[in-house]
Symmetry: C2
Subunit: 202 residues, 2 copies
């Protein structure tokens, strides 16, 4: 087996293990069992458990970024770019649910350089979303929605799937992406005032 | 100090501890330190660490449900009910961020009766949201959005705040709630066809 293939197999099996047992409760022995490698064989791929966590996180971010680059090629309008952003995100993560859970639950355990590298990747990815939204609002009248809040709301809609989405039973990623895009796009582009303000509490 | 006050103080301090260190990595000694009680004093409030986790989760769900009951009184339209649902959820959880993280990250460690009790509370709360959306769509033409997906999208927008919201720096809960309500409401109520379908991938 070539190195890259072997590495991907190790990352994927370890991601499932960490998602199920938790990072701190998974031992190197558990990882060896999950990957059918000897502890010595594992160290061919990573130096430490934290190194493995870092590789899992970096790998999934690289995957979603690469998918996005491919998806953006040929998209001519901001609406299309948003639809493709959402679709790529949901397709990538609905087929990598353990990695999604690890980004949410375990990546906070990374420290130092690994932590900075992942944060930089995530910031860059988030910024691509913000830029699409900025372009979407474009030269419409008024200030438009707050872009940080709107982007976070969109990421919330997409990322929360790791808690509820059942592949094979819920709508497939493409259908889900169309629903999320429609929900978000129309809400985002609706003229700002007048907003349906919540009533003051009794 | 009355029992209920003491209990709430213990739950809140323990929630902060679990959110920071993780449930499995927090010992009873850590809990004693965080709450300034002796281990014996702690057992006045709970029988075991799992019992404590269960109390934290039940308590926050009861709080958000009670807030919702109060908020629903006097709301006359489905739009108003949605706005109040979102506002109550965001007000409750933005002032209980550790509890929010614990529901997302740690409540899966509950077993048996505690797990069933929490699931029942969460299902009931989720159903109240679904019912508001069903009523919102009402007698509009067409089938309307899938209610499970739409509700999950709304919960995603709201719950994801535990990963990014900085009280005091980001918009306060009421403003955030108005933004989320507007975003969701207009997207949800927009006529279903024609949907902005994502383009097929190149």
């Amino acid at each position: 087996m070539r190195y890259q293939e072997g590495l991907e197999r190790v990352l994927s099996a370890s991601a499932r293990l960490f998602a199920e047992r938790g990072y701190h409760r998974s031992s190197v022995r558990d990882i060896a069992r999950a990957t059918s490698l000897t502890p010595a064989g594992l160290y061919y791929y990573f130096k430490s458990k934290e190194d493995l966590l870092s590789l899992i996180c970096d790998h999934i971010m690289e995957l979603v970024e690469a998918g996005l680059d491919a998806a953006m090629a040929g998209a001519t309008t901001p609406e299309e770019r948003l639809a493709r952003f959402v679709r790529n995100h949901l397709e990538t993560f609905s087929s990598h649910m353990p990695e999604m859970k690890i980004l949410a639950h375990e990546s906070g355990h990374l420290q130092g350089e690994s932590r900075e590298r992942l944060s930089a990747k995530q910031r860059q990815y988030f910024t691509r979303c913000v830029e699409i939204l900025r372009e979407l609002w474009g030269s419409r009248d008024g200030e438009g929605p707050d872009l940080r809040t709107a982007s976070m709301a969109l990421f919330g809609m997409m990322n929360w799937i790791y808690t509820w989405y059942r592949p094979g039973r819920d709508p497939e990623a493409g259908v889900l992406a169309a629903q999320v895009t429609r929900l978000f796009l129309r809400g985002f582009l609706a003229p700002q005032p007048p907003a349906p303000n919540p009533q003051p509490r009794p």
